[in-house]
Amino acid sequence: MRKPIGWSTIIIAILVAVSAVLVWRRDGADGVLDILTHDLSLFGGILPRVLAGCLLGAFISEILPHEKVSRSLGPKSGLMGLLIGTAFGAILPGGPFTAYPVASALLAVGADFGATIAMVVSWTLIGYGRAVAWEIPIMGTDFTLWRIVISLPLPVLAGALGRFVYVRLYPKPLAKDDEN
């Protein structure tokens, strides 16, 4: 997937260090330790799911037919590719530990940024998982359904905008998608 350390990781690490110092100045060492122990247990809890996500991504990128993916989700897949990405994001089960590894696998086997953006945005905006588990119980059915209806066009629009910008930013296909 990616190099372990890149600019994004460094920026995040700096942000974290600054925040930790601010917490320390406000709450003392106890405050820093409290958050650390809480988050370490959280970390232990999600590790198995992260492993499952990584395996899922690896198997999927192995078994997906590359030509078919680049034909139906690649740069030349048109509106149909964006619609397929949107539909796929909407029906994808699980949480972030499935959505992002699968999106990353699609990217690796020939989907373009546009279709992958449509998929990720669709998963987060119209995917049923979070809506059923959290949004309906907390915000109510009326608001949630109405919010989803409003969001329906957004994944395709975001994917189209992504594609539009991408071909202008990177006129030639890059050899390797990686951090920069």
């Binding site: 601010l22 959290w134 951090e179």
Partner: protein, 166 residues
């Protein structure tokens, strides 16, 4: 059965399913993807650790009142813009995000603003980006995805203004 257990069963069931398909393509294919997946896992763990532990500290220095304050009865496009910022800056998981949205609705926040808030939270909530999206996806994709998503909470608010309340 708890939701977490259901999610785990679904998740590992899917892994088993695609693993089986890979295995039927031949043991070398299976072994190669198993190795690939484990290597990805080893590479991702430090980034997830940084994300989980780090976002706890970042969240601790963002007072929740600030977020709720940004979602007041302030109407119009300025209200939408602050709602978008509030969505991106909201710490914590879905319970916190949606609860803040509900509180805003009940305390007189405008509906288009709350829609913009929920959509912005879904698109940009910093904890999900740091903890999940950046570790799993190419960083270039993540920044690109976030950048092209910026107009869409505003589009959602505009649609909400046009079609009215739920």
């Amino acid at each position: 059965m708890s939701a977490a257990l259901l999610i785990d069963i679904l998740l590992w069931g899917s892994v088993l399913g695609v693993g089986l398909i890979a295995f039927r393509r031949g043991p070398p294919v299976f072994k190669a993807s198993l190795r690939e997946g484990s290597m990805d896992f080893i590479n991702i763990v430090p980034r997830i650790a940084l994300g989980v532990i780090g976002s706890g500290y970042i969240a601790a220095i963002i007072p929740q009142e600030v977020i709720t304050g940004w979602l007041g009865p302030d109407s119009g496009w300025l209200g939408v813009a602050t709602a978008v910022l509030a969505g991106a800056a909201t710490p914590g998981g879905p319970v916190i995000g949606f609860s803040i949205g509900t509180v805003a609705l009940k305390s007189g926040g405008g509906v288009p603003q709350v829609v913009a808030y929920v959509v912005a939270w879904a698109l940009f909530a910093f904890q999900r980006v740091i903890l999940w999206e950046i570790p799993f996806m190419p960083a270039r994709f993540v920044w690109f995805r976030c950048a092209v998503s910026v107009p869409f909470p505003f589009v959602a608010a505009a649609i909400a203004m046009l079609i009215g309340k739920p």
